[in-house]
């Protein structure tokens, strides 16, 4: 799983049928210190996240398993909204 920040929504009217009702969000990957890392990607939402939320998401086969209908094409799905990241103080 990786951390990311929702930076926008993606609206698509014409899409594969199994994606009906699936919300698409634009996610900027983050490091553990919540600094931007890499290029933004589009992820399916399962937890009603919105722009500004810090989330964690998973890619690969597990992305589809996170959706209600798991026989679904997704390579990134948001699994939860992050309240807080606690980091150990480096020695």
């Amino acid at each position: 799983m990786l951390l990311g920040k929702v930076i926008g929504t993606v609206v698509a009217t014409r899409k594969v049928e199994s994606w009906e009702g699936v919300k698409l969000l634009l996610v900027q990957p983050l490091t553990e210190k919540l600094e931007e890392s890499g290029e933004p990607l589009v992820a399916c939402d399962t937890v009603q996240a919105g722009p500004g939320d810090i989330v964690f998401y998973e890619g690969g086969r597990e992305a589809a398993l996170g959706l209600k209908d798991w026989f679904n094409p997704s390579d990134a799905t948001i699994m939860g909204i992050v309240d807080r990241v606690d980091l150990a103080v480096s020695p």
């Binding site: 951390l3 597990e62 909204i81 990241v85 980091l87 150990a88």
Partner: protein, 102 residues
């Protein structure tokens, strides 16, 4: 599996129900000498690991689902062991090295 050090935890309230009761840890991959290497990943805890521990992180979905006992769980990264010691051969330039302070 990769060696990693736990450097933090993630607190999340709104998440998929299948994630309830699982602690999410921030794991920094390390090389055999214990030095940070590469980008951090989030992994589910299954062995009561905590901050500072060096652990084994498994990043393979089917194994992760076996461990949590749910064949359809959308999980891939799990912490499967707390490492006590890493021993490497002298040829690699590092000899008998203890990764976890005693």
């Amino acid at each position: 599996m990769t060696l990693a050090r736990i450097i933090g935890t993630v607190v999340s309230t709104a998440k998929l129900p299948v994630y309830e009761g699982h602690k999410i840890l921030v794991a920094q991959p390390v090389d055999p000498s214990g030095a940070p290497k590469g980008k951090t990943v989030l992994a589910l805890d299954t062995v009561q690991a905590g901050e500072g521990d060096v652990v084994l992180v498994l990043q393979e979905g089917n194994s992760a689902r076996l461990i949590v006992g749910d064949s359809m769980a959308p999980m891939r990264c799990v912490v499967v062991a707390v490492v006590d010691e890493v021993e490497t051969t002298e040829e690699s330039g590092r000899s008998l090295w203890q990764i976890r302070p005693t």
